[in-house]
């Protein structure tokens, strides 16, 4: 497809990003504020030779995505908090079986049914810790309609490269706002695909990693035979209750993300060069923060923004570096404090102040201005 320009909403940009990334399977169950993704995929999947299936619930949706991925098809689902809660068991299965998939969470007010049409950033820790066991996933936090497209492509590429579920964590405002979207010519989009085995089938060990800690992935229906299980398994894929097998496996599943964090994490630095006060934000509050920083700069306060485009793995190195350069850090998130605790641990002993807002509207620019002034005069 040649380059296209649309004026469209974040949810639809996400669906178009998935299609451009090569996604050809969507299994889902509609839920506000992610319904437009399902609607758009229902219309577009048949046009591009893919399949859209609406299931009876979110549990069936994500397990179908796991199955589709094992056939070699890039696959995704999209939901909101209540749906993610139901999907969490299968997220653990995808982590354990090293299944590439993309899970979009358009975050609404919670807990439980909460406020369906209002936004929040309450699911940041859920994405990391919502399934049981020690594990790592990747979570990206777009802040604009264009980023809903670009970061969905990045989510697919990362999930393929590291064989891991990747969350696209967008607050409702980003999902439902409309802006200009530029869809590049398809030849200008860089796509990645999982490593396939090249050894003779008789020598194939389905969970033996390469040096990057990621094992090549055989596909269902090919000449390779393998067994994929949620039980702890050795390199052959056979279940094991041995201590060393458990330690080796879960250490590798964590390290393949943590040791590659520098290749995964992306941040935007805004007016940080001479900053004494840094705001850390992601999603819609980062846009309030940008406005606020421009405003306080007019008053002579040297403030800047570290915008997190990746929250998991946590951008620890960036925050540690920042803490050595600035005097104070403000974390503004649309919840009662989640990434704040990660920042506080990484930034210590630099003081970290929390600005909470557990409701539909992000912090207003003038509220962040006020907070920066207070921190500046303290």
């Amino acid at each position: 497809m040649p380059k296209r320009i649309m004026f469209t909403m974040g949810d639809i940009a996400c669906a178009e990003g998935a299609i451009s990334a090569g996604c050809r399977y969507f299994g889902g169950y509609p839920i506000t504020p992610a319904t437009e993704i399902a609607e758009w995929m229902a219309r577009r999947m048949p046009e591009v030779g893919g399949a859209y299936v609406q299931y009876e619930d979110e549990i069936a949706s994500i397990t179908s995505v796991i199955g589709a991925s094992w056939t070699g098809t890039k696959a995704m689902t999209a939901t909101s908090g209540p749906g993610v809660s139901l999907m969490m068991e299968a997220v653990g299965l995808a982590v354990m079986t090293e299944t590439p998939l993309v899970l979009v969470n358009i975050m609404r007010g919670g807990p439980s049914t909460g406020q369906p049409t209002r936004g929040q950033q309450g699911d940041v820790m859920q994405a990391k810790w919502g399934s049981h066991g020690d594990y790592q996933i990747i979570a990206l936090t777009p802040a604009s309609v264009q980023e809903m497209f670009d970061e969905t492509i990045r989510a697919f590429n990362l999930s393929e490269r590291y064989r891991v579920p990747v969350f696209l964590l967008a607050d409702e405002t980003v999902g439902h706002m409309r802006e200009r979207l530029v869809i590049p010519d398809e030849k200008d989009i860089k796509l990645e695909y999982r490593k396939l085995p090249t050894v003779d089938p008789s020598e194939y060990l389905p969970f033996k990693p390469d040096d990057d800690l990621v094992p090549p992935m055989a596909l269902l229906g090919t000449k390779y035979q393998f067994y994929a299980t949620g039980l702890t398994h050795d390199e052959r894929g056979y279940p094991s209750d041995k201590e060393e097998v458990q330690i080796e496996l879960i250490t590798r599943l964590n390290n393949k993300i943590l040791k590659n964090a520098d290749k995964i994490v992306e941040v935007e630095e805004f007016m940080l060069d001479d900053a004494e006060i840094a705001v850390i934000a992601y999603g819609t509050p980062s846009r309030s923060a940008k406005r606020a920083i421009k405003d306080v700069r007019q008053e002579g306060i040297r403030a800047g923004l570290l915008r997190l485009k990746t929250v998991w793995p946590f951008p620890e190195r960036h925050v540690v570096d920042l803490a050595t350069k600035v005097k104070q850090i403000i974390v503004a998130e649309q919840n009662l404090g989640q990434i704040y605790y990660m920042v506080k641990a990484a930034a210590s002993p630099t003081p970290v102040h929390l600005m909470t807002k557990p409701a539909g509207m992000p912090q207003l620019p003038q509220e962040i201005v006020q907070m920066i002034r207070e921190v500046h005069s303290s």
């Binding site: 004026f7 049409t117 405002t173 706002m177 409309r178 802006e179 509207m361 620019p365």
Partner: protein
């Protein structure tokens, strides 16, 4: 124009969101402005409170929501009462005069334009569903923030089956807007 903010408030079903979307599409795709359009509405499909917003600029828009609107279009009494206090000094207030009475005290610098958009859509266009397009025409005539040719092009692209009907609604809205401007100057 560094930043220009439009807020539209009314009931679910009046086309409040569609109106902002068509405005945003025209400004972004045809007039080549930076635009962000957002909305807020309740869980109901019809009848609940509905609000939509468009922020326009010559550079990238940071904060995507309206802070103090340059223009507020009130299509219901509830929306008027909720948002009228947020008006900017020198701002423009457009009301559907059959649905919204001016209540309370407005800053003296606020300019008020009364457009019977629902009546025009019902009686003159012959379809109440075009109320939002009538109001869009009035907005264009009163503020000049969006090109009329752009709106015509966008309406024709967007609703090929209902092109004539909506172009008529737009034209009647433009006329009503021009009349409202003239009468405010006399």
């Amino acid at each position: 124009m560094s930043r220009y903010e439009v807020r539209i408030g009314g009931f679910g079903g009046q086309g409040i969101v569609t109106m902002a979307v068509v405005l945003g599409e025209t400004l972004s795709l045809i007039d080549n402005k930076y635009v962000v359009q957002t909305q807020s509405y309740g869980p109901e499909a019809r009848g609940g409170a509905s609000k939509s917003e468009v922020v326009i600029g010559d550079e990238e828009i940071d904060y995507p929501k309206v802070q103090r609107p340059d223009v507020f279009i009130a299509m219901s009494r509830a929306a008027y009462l909720e948002y009228v206090d947020g008006m900017r000094e020198g701002g423009i207030l457009i009301v559907d005069e059959d649905l919204v009475q001016i209540e309370g005290s407005l800053p003296s610098s606020v300019r008020v334009y009364k457009i019977p958009a629902t009546r025009i859509a019902d009686m003159e266009v012959g379809n109440k569903q075009t109320t939002n397009v009538v109001m869009l025409g009035a907005l264009a005539a009163i503020t000049g923030i969006v090109s009329v040719e752009g709106l015509k092009q966008r309406i024709a692209e967007r609703w090929p089956r209902f092109k004539e009907l909506n172009l008529k609604a737009l034209e009647l809205g433009l006329e009503a807007g021009r009349r409202a401007v003239e009468s405010s100057q006399t």
